[in-house]
Protein backbone atom coordinates (compact mmCIF):
# COMPACT_ATOMS: atom_id res chain seq x y z
CA UNK A 1 0.00 0.00 0.00
CA UNK A 2 1.19 3.49 -0.82
CA UNK A 3 -0.14 6.40 1.18
CA UNK A 4 0.34 9.98 0.07
CA UNK A 5 -0.16 12.90 2.41
CA UNK A 6 -0.55 16.46 1.28
CA UNK A 7 1.89 16.49 -1.67
CA UNK A 8 2.50 19.90 -3.22
CA UNK A 9 4.82 20.86 -6.02
CA UNK A 10 5.47 24.09 -7.89
CA UNK A 11 7.84 24.94 -10.72
CA UNK A 12 8.88 28.60 -10.50
CA UNK A 13 5.59 30.39 -9.85
CA UNK A 14 3.38 27.70 -11.34
CA UNK A 15 1.66 25.36 -8.91
CA UNK A 16 1.41 21.86 -10.37
CA UNK A 17 0.18 19.91 -7.35
CA UNK A 18 -1.52 21.35 -4.32
CA UNK A 19 -2.10 19.18 -1.28
CA UNK A 20 -2.75 15.84 -2.97
CA UNK A 21 -3.55 13.02 -0.56
CA UNK A 22 -4.65 9.47 -1.29
CA UNK A 23 -4.19 5.79 -0.61
CA UNK A 24 -3.21 3.34 -3.36
CA UNK A 25 -4.24 -0.19 -2.53
CA UNK A 26 -2.47 -3.48 -3.01
CA UNK A 27 -3.53 -6.20 -5.47
CA UNK A 28 -5.35 -4.03 -8.00
CA UNK A 29 -4.53 -1.30 -10.48
CA UNK A 30 -4.95 2.22 -9.05
CA UNK A 31 -5.57 4.69 -11.84
CA UNK A 32 -4.60 8.35 -11.81
CA UNK A 33 -6.60 10.08 -14.52
CA UNK A 34 -6.98 13.62 -15.75
CA UNK A 35 -6.50 15.80 -18.78
CA UNK A 36 -3.03 16.66 -20.06
CA UNK A 37 -1.18 19.14 -17.85
CA UNK A 38 -3.11 18.40 -14.66
CA UNK A 39 -0.05 17.08 -12.83
CA UNK A 40 -0.48 13.29 -13.14
CA UNK A 41 3.05 12.58 -14.30
CA UNK A 42 4.54 15.05 -11.82
CA UNK A 43 2.61 13.31 -9.04
CA UNK A 44 3.93 9.93 -10.19
CA UNK A 45 7.47 11.33 -10.28
CA UNK A 46 6.98 12.70 -6.75
CA UNK A 47 5.82 9.27 -5.62
CA UNK A 48 8.90 7.50 -7.01
CA UNK A 49 11.33 10.30 -6.06
CA UNK A 50 12.30 11.48 -9.53
CA UNK A 51 10.93 14.89 -8.60
CA UNK A 52 11.13 16.03 -4.99
CA UNK A 53 7.87 17.51 -3.67
CA UNK A 54 7.91 20.91 -1.96
CA UNK A 55 5.71 19.55 0.80
CA UNK A 56 4.09 16.30 1.85
CA UNK A 57 4.97 12.71 2.59
CA UNK A 58 4.86 9.38 0.78
CA UNK A 59 4.60 6.15 2.77
CA UNK A 60 5.44 2.76 1.27
CA UNK A 61 3.79 0.19 3.56
CA UNK A 62 4.33 2.60 6.41
CA UNK A 63 7.91 3.54 5.45
CA UNK A 64 8.39 7.27 5.09
CA UNK A 65 10.03 7.63 1.64
CA UNK A 66 11.25 11.20 2.08
CA UNK A 67 11.70 11.07 5.85
CA UNK A 68 14.85 8.93 5.99
CA UNK A 69 18.29 9.21 4.46
CA UNK A 70 19.21 8.36 0.86
CA UNK A 71 20.04 4.75 1.71
CA UNK A 72 16.47 4.21 2.98
CA UNK A 73 15.13 5.73 -0.22
CA UNK A 74 17.30 3.41 -2.33
CA UNK A 75 16.10 0.45 -0.27
CA UNK A 76 12.48 1.30 -1.16
CA UNK A 77 13.39 2.02 -4.78
CA UNK A 78 14.85 -1.46 -5.17
CA UNK A 79 11.33 -2.75 -4.55
CA UNK A 80 9.92 -0.66 -7.40
CA UNK A 81 9.34 -1.42 -11.05
CA UNK A 82 8.37 1.27 -13.50
CA UNK A 83 7.05 1.29 -17.03
CA UNK A 84 7.87 4.58 -18.71
CA UNK A 85 5.82 6.29 -21.39
CA UNK A 86 8.34 5.55 -24.15
CA UNK A 87 9.48 2.26 -22.66
CA UNK A 88 12.88 3.76 -21.64
CA UNK A 89 14.69 0.66 -22.83
CA UNK A 90 18.48 0.94 -22.94
CA UNK A 91 19.10 1.22 -26.65
CA UNK A 92 22.62 -0.19 -26.50
CA UNK A 93 21.30 -3.46 -25.04
CA UNK A 94 19.12 -6.12 -26.64
CA UNK A 95 15.78 -7.27 -25.21
CA UNK A 96 17.33 -9.99 -23.04
CA UNK A 97 20.03 -7.65 -21.68
CA UNK A 98 17.41 -4.99 -20.96
CA UNK A 99 15.23 -7.36 -18.96
CA UNK A 100 18.23 -8.92 -17.22
CA UNK A 101 19.71 -5.54 -16.32
CA UNK A 102 18.13 -5.17 -12.83
CA UNK A 103 19.20 -8.72 -11.98
CA UNK A 104 22.76 -8.05 -13.15
CA UNK A 105 23.17 -4.89 -11.15
CA UNK A 106 21.06 -5.55 -8.08
CA UNK A 107 21.43 -9.29 -7.44
CA UNK A 108 24.12 -11.93 -7.26
CA UNK A 109 21.99 -14.54 -9.03
CA UNK A 110 23.89 -17.07 -11.18
CA UNK A 111 23.47 -16.64 -14.94
CA UNK A 112 21.34 -19.79 -15.34
CA UNK A 113 18.79 -18.46 -12.83
CA UNK A 114 18.82 -15.02 -14.39
CA UNK A 115 18.15 -16.28 -17.90
CA UNK A 116 15.39 -18.51 -16.59
CA UNK A 117 13.79 -15.54 -14.83
CA UNK A 118 14.16 -13.33 -17.92
CA UNK A 119 12.53 -15.92 -20.17
CA UNK A 120 9.74 -16.41 -17.63
CA UNK A 121 9.03 -12.66 -17.53
CA UNK A 122 9.17 -12.32 -21.32
CA UNK A 123 6.76 -15.24 -21.64
CA UNK A 124 4.54 -13.64 -18.99
CA UNK A 125 4.19 -10.51 -21.15
CA UNK A 126 3.60 -12.60 -24.27
CA UNK A 127 7.01 -12.26 -25.87
CA UNK A 128 9.06 -15.20 -27.01
CA UNK A 129 12.06 -15.56 -29.33
CA UNK A 130 12.82 -11.85 -29.24
CA UNK A 131 15.74 -12.06 -26.79
CA UNK A 132 18.36 -10.98 -29.29
CA UNK A 133 16.36 -8.15 -30.87
CA UNK A 134 17.48 -4.57 -30.27
CA UNK A 135 14.89 -2.02 -29.06
CA UNK A 136 15.06 -0.30 -32.46
CA UNK A 137 13.96 -3.55 -34.12
CA UNK A 138 10.71 -4.05 -32.18
CA UNK A 139 7.32 -2.30 -32.30
CA UNK A 140 5.98 0.23 -29.78
CA UNK A 141 3.70 -2.34 -28.17
CA UNK A 142 6.55 -4.81 -27.85
CA UNK A 143 8.74 -2.12 -26.28
CA UNK A 144 6.05 -1.52 -23.66
CA UNK A 145 5.85 -5.24 -22.95
CA UNK A 146 9.64 -5.49 -22.65
CA UNK A 147 9.42 -2.48 -20.32
CA UNK A 148 6.87 -4.34 -18.19
CA UNK A 149 9.04 -7.48 -18.20
CA UNK A 150 12.00 -5.41 -17.01
CA UNK A 151 9.83 -3.77 -14.36
CA UNK A 152 8.67 -7.09 -12.89
CA UNK A 153 11.85 -9.15 -13.32
CA UNK A 154 13.11 -8.32 -9.84
CA UNK A 155 9.67 -9.16 -8.29
CA UNK A 156 8.78 -5.61 -7.22
CA UNK A 157 6.31 -4.73 -4.49
CA UNK A 158 5.30 -1.55 -6.30
CA UNK A 159 4.63 -1.14 -10.01
CA UNK A 160 4.26 2.26 -11.68
CA UNK A 161 3.04 2.76 -15.22
CA UNK A 162 3.22 6.16 -16.89
CA UNK A 163 0.67 6.26 -19.73
CA UNK A 164 1.19 2.63 -20.73
CA UNK A 165 -1.14 2.93 -23.72
CA UNK A 166 0.11 6.12 -25.31
CA UNK A 167 0.80 5.61 -29.00
CA UNK A 168 -0.65 2.11 -29.09
CA UNK A 169 -3.56 0.74 -31.11
CA UNK A 170 -6.72 -0.18 -29.13
CA UNK A 171 -6.06 -3.92 -29.34
CA UNK A 172 -2.50 -3.70 -28.05
CA UNK A 173 -3.70 -1.24 -25.39
CA UNK A 174 -6.15 -3.83 -24.16
CA UNK A 175 -3.41 -6.46 -24.00
CA UNK A 176 -1.22 -4.11 -21.94
CA UNK A 177 -4.14 -3.20 -19.63
CA UNK A 178 -5.01 -6.85 -19.02
CA UNK A 179 -1.37 -7.59 -18.36
CA UNK A 180 -1.12 -4.82 -15.77
CA UNK A 181 -4.30 -6.02 -14.05
CA UNK A 182 -3.19 -9.66 -14.04
CA UNK A 183 0.24 -8.79 -12.68
CA UNK A 184 -1.22 -6.62 -9.92
CA UNK A 185 -3.53 -9.42 -8.83
CA UNK A 186 -1.19 -12.39 -9.30
CA UNK A 187 1.85 -10.77 -7.68
CA UNK A 188 -0.29 -8.93 -5.10
CA UNK A 189 1.59 -5.67 -5.68
CA UNK A 190 0.58 -2.02 -5.44
CA UNK A 191 0.19 -0.68 -8.95
CA UNK A 192 -0.32 2.93 -9.97
CA UNK A 193 -1.24 3.66 -13.57
CA UNK A 194 -1.24 7.19 -14.97
CA UNK A 195 -3.54 7.40 -17.95
CA UNK A 196 -6.04 9.51 -19.82
CA UNK A 197 -7.28 6.61 -21.93
CA UNK A 198 -10.98 5.99 -21.22
CA UNK A 199 -10.74 2.42 -22.53
CA UNK A 200 -8.23 1.67 -19.76
CA UNK A 201 -10.37 3.46 -17.21
CA UNK A 202 -13.43 1.40 -18.08
CA UNK A 203 -11.39 -1.78 -18.43
CA UNK A 204 -9.19 -1.92 -15.33
CA UNK A 205 -10.34 1.05 -13.25
CA UNK A 206 -11.02 -0.67 -9.94
CA UNK A 207 -9.75 2.37 -8.10
CA UNK A 208 -9.62 5.70 -9.85
CA UNK A 209 -8.49 9.14 -8.72
CA UNK A 210 -9.31 12.12 -10.91
CA UNK A 211 -6.85 15.02 -10.91
CA UNK A 212 -7.92 18.50 -11.90
CA UNK A 213 -5.53 21.47 -11.76
CA UNK A 214 -3.23 19.66 -9.34
CA UNK A 215 -5.96 18.60 -6.92
CA UNK A 216 -7.81 15.37 -6.40
CA UNK A 217 -11.36 16.16 -7.40
CA UNK A 218 -12.93 12.72 -7.29
CA UNK A 219 -12.18 9.16 -6.20
CA UNK A 220 -14.14 6.01 -7.07
CA UNK A 221 -14.23 3.09 -9.49
CA UNK A 222 -15.23 2.40 -13.09
CA UNK A 223 -18.84 1.70 -12.14
CA UNK A 224 -19.22 5.04 -10.41
CA UNK A 225 -17.32 7.26 -12.86
CA UNK A 226 -20.18 7.86 -15.30
CA UNK A 227 -22.50 9.25 -12.64
CA UNK A 228 -20.10 11.08 -10.37
CA UNK A 229 -21.96 14.37 -10.52
CA UNK A 230 -18.64 16.23 -10.86
CA UNK A 231 -18.81 18.52 -13.89
CA UNK A 232 -15.05 18.53 -14.58
CA UNK A 233 -14.95 14.72 -14.47
CA UNK A 234 -18.01 14.45 -16.73
CA UNK A 235 -16.33 16.81 -19.20
CA UNK A 236 -13.26 14.57 -19.18
CA UNK A 237 -15.12 11.24 -19.40
CA UNK A 238 -17.65 12.24 -22.02
CA UNK A 239 -15.13 13.98 -24.24
CA UNK A 240 -14.66 10.45 -25.57
CA UNK A 241 -17.13 9.97 -28.44
CA UNK A 242 -17.88 6.35 -27.57
CA UNK A 243 -18.61 7.25 -23.95
CA UNK A 244 -20.72 10.18 -25.10
CA UNK A 245 -22.79 8.03 -27.47
CA UNK A 246 -23.38 5.54 -24.64
CA UNK A 247 -24.48 8.38 -22.39
CA UNK A 248 -26.97 9.64 -25.01
CA UNK A 249 -28.46 6.17 -25.34
Amino acid sequence: MIEIKNISKSFSDKTILSGFSGVFEKGKPNLLIGASGTGKSVLLKCIVGLVYPDEGQVFYDGRDFYGGDRDKMIEVRREMGMLFQGGALFDSKNVEQNVMFPLNVLTKMPYSEKIERVNFCLKRVGLENVNSKMPSEISGGMKKRVGIARAIVNTPNYLFCDEPNSGLDPQTSMVIDDLIQDLSEDLDITTIVVTHDMNSVMGIGEKIMFLYKGEKLWEGNKNEITHSGVKELDDFVFANKVMNSLRNK
Partner: protein, 245 residues
Protein backbone atom coordinates in the same frame (compact mmCIF):
# COMPACT_ATOMS: atom_id res chain seq x y z
CA UNK B 1 28.01 30.94 -13.67
CA UNK B 2 28.87 30.41 -9.96
CA UNK B 3 25.67 28.39 -9.54
CA UNK B 4 26.64 26.22 -12.51
CA UNK B 5 30.12 25.59 -11.08
CA UNK B 6 28.53 24.67 -7.74
CA UNK B 7 26.18 22.22 -9.48
CA UNK B 8 29.16 20.73 -11.31
CA UNK B 9 30.97 20.06 -8.03
CA UNK B 10 27.83 18.50 -6.50
CA UNK B 11 27.65 16.33 -9.63
CA UNK B 12 31.28 15.27 -9.09
CA UNK B 13 30.48 14.45 -5.46
CA UNK B 14 27.76 12.07 -6.63
CA UNK B 15 30.30 10.09 -8.67
CA UNK B 16 31.67 8.31 -5.65
CA UNK B 17 28.59 7.71 -3.47
CA UNK B 18 26.21 4.71 -3.55
CA UNK B 19 28.39 2.84 -6.03
CA UNK B 20 27.57 -0.57 -7.43
CA UNK B 21 29.90 -3.56 -7.32
CA UNK B 22 33.43 -3.41 -8.77
CA UNK B 23 32.48 -6.07 -11.33
CA UNK B 24 29.74 -3.81 -12.73
CA UNK B 25 32.18 -0.94 -13.25
CA UNK B 26 34.97 -3.12 -14.60
CA UNK B 27 33.05 -4.17 -17.71
CA UNK B 28 31.64 -0.69 -18.30
CA UNK B 29 35.10 0.86 -17.97
CA UNK B 30 36.65 -1.60 -20.43
CA UNK B 31 33.86 -0.84 -22.92
CA UNK B 32 34.47 2.88 -22.52
CA UNK B 33 38.25 2.39 -22.89
CA UNK B 34 37.69 0.69 -26.24
CA UNK B 35 35.41 3.51 -27.39
CA UNK B 36 37.64 6.30 -26.16
CA UNK B 37 41.05 4.79 -26.86
CA UNK B 38 40.76 2.64 -29.95
CA UNK B 39 38.05 4.88 -31.38
CA UNK B 40 40.28 7.97 -31.18
CA UNK B 41 43.54 6.35 -32.21
CA UNK B 42 43.36 7.01 -35.96
CA UNK B 43 42.34 10.66 -35.61
CA UNK B 44 44.99 11.34 -32.93
CA UNK B 45 47.72 9.67 -34.99
CA UNK B 46 46.71 11.52 -38.14
CA UNK B 47 46.49 14.95 -36.53
CA UNK B 48 49.70 14.60 -34.54
CA UNK B 49 51.71 13.32 -37.52
CA UNK B 50 50.71 16.37 -39.56
CA UNK B 51 51.28 18.69 -36.59
CA UNK B 52 54.84 17.37 -36.33
CA UNK B 53 55.39 17.71 -40.06
CA UNK B 54 54.08 21.28 -40.17
CA UNK B 55 56.06 22.29 -37.07
CA UNK B 56 59.27 21.05 -38.71
CA UNK B 57 58.65 22.92 -41.95
CA UNK B 58 57.63 26.15 -40.19
CA UNK B 59 60.55 26.04 -37.75
CA UNK B 60 62.97 25.55 -40.63
CA UNK B 61 61.35 28.46 -42.48
CA UNK B 62 61.83 30.73 -39.47
CA UNK B 63 65.50 29.82 -38.95
CA UNK B 64 67.13 32.37 -41.16
CA UNK B 65 70.62 32.39 -39.61
CA UNK B 66 73.19 29.92 -40.88
CA UNK B 67 74.92 30.05 -37.49
CA UNK B 68 72.09 28.07 -35.92
CA UNK B 69 72.69 24.34 -36.38
CA UNK B 70 70.00 22.30 -38.16
CA UNK B 71 69.46 19.92 -35.25
CA UNK B 72 67.82 22.82 -33.37
CA UNK B 73 64.81 22.28 -35.63
CA UNK B 74 64.32 18.83 -34.07
CA UNK B 75 64.78 20.30 -30.58
CA UNK B 76 62.07 22.87 -31.24
CA UNK B 77 59.75 20.19 -32.69
CA UNK B 78 60.35 17.98 -29.64
CA UNK B 79 59.65 20.74 -27.13
CA UNK B 80 56.56 21.99 -28.94
CA UNK B 81 55.10 18.55 -29.42
CA UNK B 82 55.81 17.26 -25.92
CA UNK B 83 54.98 20.41 -24.01
CA UNK B 84 52.01 21.76 -25.88
CA UNK B 85 50.82 20.21 -29.10
CA UNK B 86 50.40 16.60 -27.96
CA UNK B 87 48.61 17.21 -24.65
CA UNK B 88 46.70 20.42 -25.42
CA UNK B 89 45.79 20.36 -29.10
CA UNK B 90 44.88 16.69 -28.85
CA UNK B 91 42.72 17.63 -25.81
CA UNK B 92 40.77 20.02 -28.03
CA UNK B 93 40.28 17.24 -30.58
CA UNK B 94 39.45 14.82 -27.75
CA UNK B 95 36.77 17.25 -26.51
CA UNK B 96 35.31 17.49 -30.01
CA UNK B 97 35.21 13.77 -30.62
CA UNK B 98 34.87 12.02 -27.25
CA UNK B 99 33.35 14.88 -25.21
CA UNK B 100 30.55 15.56 -27.67
CA UNK B 101 29.85 11.84 -27.94
CA UNK B 102 29.62 11.53 -24.13
CA UNK B 103 27.30 14.54 -23.89
CA UNK B 104 25.00 13.46 -26.69
CA UNK B 105 24.86 9.86 -25.41
CA UNK B 106 23.92 10.94 -21.89
CA UNK B 107 21.59 13.64 -23.22
CA UNK B 108 19.71 11.09 -25.30
CA UNK B 109 19.47 8.78 -22.29
CA UNK B 110 18.08 11.67 -20.28
CA UNK B 111 15.37 12.70 -22.75
CA UNK B 112 14.30 9.10 -23.39
CA UNK B 113 13.94 8.52 -19.61
CA UNK B 114 16.68 5.87 -19.52
CA UNK B 115 18.40 7.77 -16.70
CA UNK B 116 15.10 7.96 -14.80
CA UNK B 117 14.74 4.19 -15.27
CA UNK B 118 18.12 3.68 -13.59
CA UNK B 119 17.19 5.97 -10.71
CA UNK B 120 13.88 4.18 -10.12
CA UNK B 121 15.77 0.89 -9.92
CA UNK B 122 17.73 2.39 -7.02
CA UNK B 123 20.93 2.80 -9.04
CA UNK B 124 23.01 5.97 -8.66
CA UNK B 125 22.86 6.93 -12.34
CA UNK B 126 25.69 9.48 -12.10
CA UNK B 127 28.06 6.95 -10.64
CA UNK B 128 26.89 4.14 -12.91
CA UNK B 129 27.05 6.11 -16.16
CA UNK B 130 29.72 8.73 -15.59
CA UNK B 131 32.37 7.12 -13.38
CA UNK B 132 33.38 4.53 -16.04
CA UNK B 133 33.68 7.31 -18.61
CA UNK B 134 35.92 9.42 -16.36
CA UNK B 135 38.09 6.43 -15.35
CA UNK B 136 38.39 5.30 -18.98
CA UNK B 137 39.38 8.82 -20.07
CA UNK B 138 42.00 8.99 -17.29
CA UNK B 139 43.42 5.66 -18.45
CA UNK B 140 43.29 6.21 -22.18
CA UNK B 141 44.01 9.91 -22.73
CA UNK B 142 47.61 9.81 -21.38
CA UNK B 143 48.26 6.86 -23.72
CA UNK B 144 46.83 8.85 -26.62
CA UNK B 145 49.11 11.75 -25.71
CA UNK B 146 52.14 9.44 -25.70
CA UNK B 147 51.12 8.10 -29.11
CA UNK B 148 50.53 11.67 -30.32
CA UNK B 149 54.03 12.64 -29.16
CA UNK B 150 55.63 9.74 -30.99
CA UNK B 151 53.58 10.31 -34.15
CA UNK B 152 54.33 14.04 -34.04
CA UNK B 153 58.07 13.47 -33.91
CA UNK B 154 57.79 10.82 -36.61
CA UNK B 155 55.83 13.27 -38.77
CA UNK B 156 58.53 15.88 -38.22
CA UNK B 157 61.21 13.34 -39.16
CA UNK B 158 59.44 12.38 -42.38
CA UNK B 159 58.74 15.96 -43.44
CA UNK B 160 62.24 17.12 -42.54
CA UNK B 161 64.20 14.29 -44.14
CA UNK B 162 62.05 13.70 -47.22
CA UNK B 163 62.20 17.39 -48.20
CA UNK B 164 65.88 17.78 -47.34
CA UNK B 165 65.29 20.34 -44.57
CA UNK B 166 67.34 18.29 -42.11
CA UNK B 167 69.37 15.09 -42.29
CA UNK B 168 68.18 12.01 -40.39
CA UNK B 169 71.27 12.16 -38.17
CA UNK B 170 70.73 15.82 -37.29
CA UNK B 171 67.05 15.20 -36.53
CA UNK B 172 67.75 12.29 -34.19
CA UNK B 173 70.63 14.19 -32.57
CA UNK B 174 68.33 17.19 -32.06
CA UNK B 175 65.65 15.06 -30.45
CA UNK B 176 68.18 13.63 -27.99
CA UNK B 177 70.23 16.73 -27.15
CA UNK B 178 69.42 18.86 -24.08
CA UNK B 179 66.53 16.53 -23.25
CA UNK B 180 64.77 17.35 -20.01
CA UNK B 181 62.65 14.39 -18.77
CA UNK B 182 60.43 16.76 -16.77
CA UNK B 183 58.79 17.94 -20.00
CA UNK B 184 57.37 14.44 -20.49
CA UNK B 185 56.23 14.31 -16.85
CA UNK B 186 54.61 17.71 -17.33
CA UNK B 187 52.83 16.50 -20.48
CA UNK B 188 51.50 13.47 -18.61
CA UNK B 189 50.32 15.59 -15.67
CA UNK B 190 48.50 17.82 -18.15
CA UNK B 191 46.99 14.81 -19.91
CA UNK B 192 45.47 13.49 -16.66
CA UNK B 193 44.02 16.91 -15.82
CA UNK B 194 42.63 17.43 -19.33
CA UNK B 195 41.15 13.93 -19.46
CA UNK B 196 39.33 14.55 -16.20
CA UNK B 197 38.08 17.98 -17.29
CA UNK B 198 36.84 16.88 -20.72
CA UNK B 199 35.13 13.70 -19.50
CA UNK B 200 33.52 15.20 -16.41
CA UNK B 201 32.37 18.48 -18.00
CA UNK B 202 30.97 16.70 -21.07
CA UNK B 203 29.18 14.17 -18.88
CA UNK B 204 27.79 16.94 -16.68
CA UNK B 205 26.43 18.79 -19.70
CA UNK B 206 24.90 15.66 -21.20
CA UNK B 207 23.46 14.39 -17.93
CA UNK B 208 21.66 17.67 -17.27
CA UNK B 209 20.05 17.93 -20.71
CA UNK B 210 16.43 19.02 -20.56
CA UNK B 211 14.01 19.00 -23.47
CA UNK B 212 14.28 17.11 -26.73
CA UNK B 213 16.56 16.34 -29.65
CA UNK B 214 17.40 20.01 -30.20
CA UNK B 215 18.61 20.34 -26.60
CA UNK B 216 20.78 17.23 -26.98
CA UNK B 217 22.59 19.02 -29.81
CA UNK B 218 22.91 22.17 -27.69
CA UNK B 219 24.31 20.16 -24.75
CA UNK B 220 26.79 18.51 -27.05
CA UNK B 221 27.99 21.86 -28.37
CA UNK B 222 28.15 23.33 -24.86
CA UNK B 223 30.13 20.31 -23.70
CA UNK B 224 32.81 20.94 -26.32
CA UNK B 225 32.91 24.71 -25.71
CA UNK B 226 33.08 24.41 -21.92
CA UNK B 227 35.63 21.60 -22.03
CA UNK B 228 37.92 23.50 -24.38
CA UNK B 229 37.72 26.65 -22.23
CA UNK B 230 38.47 24.60 -19.10
CA UNK B 231 41.40 22.87 -20.84
CA UNK B 232 42.92 26.20 -21.94
CA UNK B 233 42.57 27.72 -18.46
CA UNK B 234 44.05 24.59 -16.85
CA UNK B 235 46.85 24.63 -19.44
CA UNK B 236 47.87 28.14 -18.43
CA UNK B 237 47.55 27.45 -14.69
CA UNK B 238 49.62 24.27 -14.92
CA UNK B 239 52.31 26.02 -16.94
CA UNK B 240 52.40 28.83 -14.40
CA UNK B 241 52.51 26.40 -11.46
CA UNK B 242 54.96 23.85 -12.79
CA UNK B 243 57.16 25.65 -15.30
CA UNK B 244 57.42 29.27 -14.13
CA UNK B 245 60.81 30.11 -12.61
Amino acid sequence: MIKEIGKYFIFLGQLLVNRESFKTYYKLTIDECVGIGIGSLFLVALVSTFMGAVTTVQTAYNMVSDFIPKYVIAQVVREMIVLELAPTIIAVIFAGKVGSSMASGLGTMRITEQIDALEVMGINSISYLVLPKVVAALLMYPLLVIIAGICGMMGGYLAGTLTGIITPNDYVYGLRSSYNPFTVEFALIKSFVFAFLVSSISSYKGYNTQGGALEVGISSTQAVTSSVIAVLIADYLLAQLLLAK
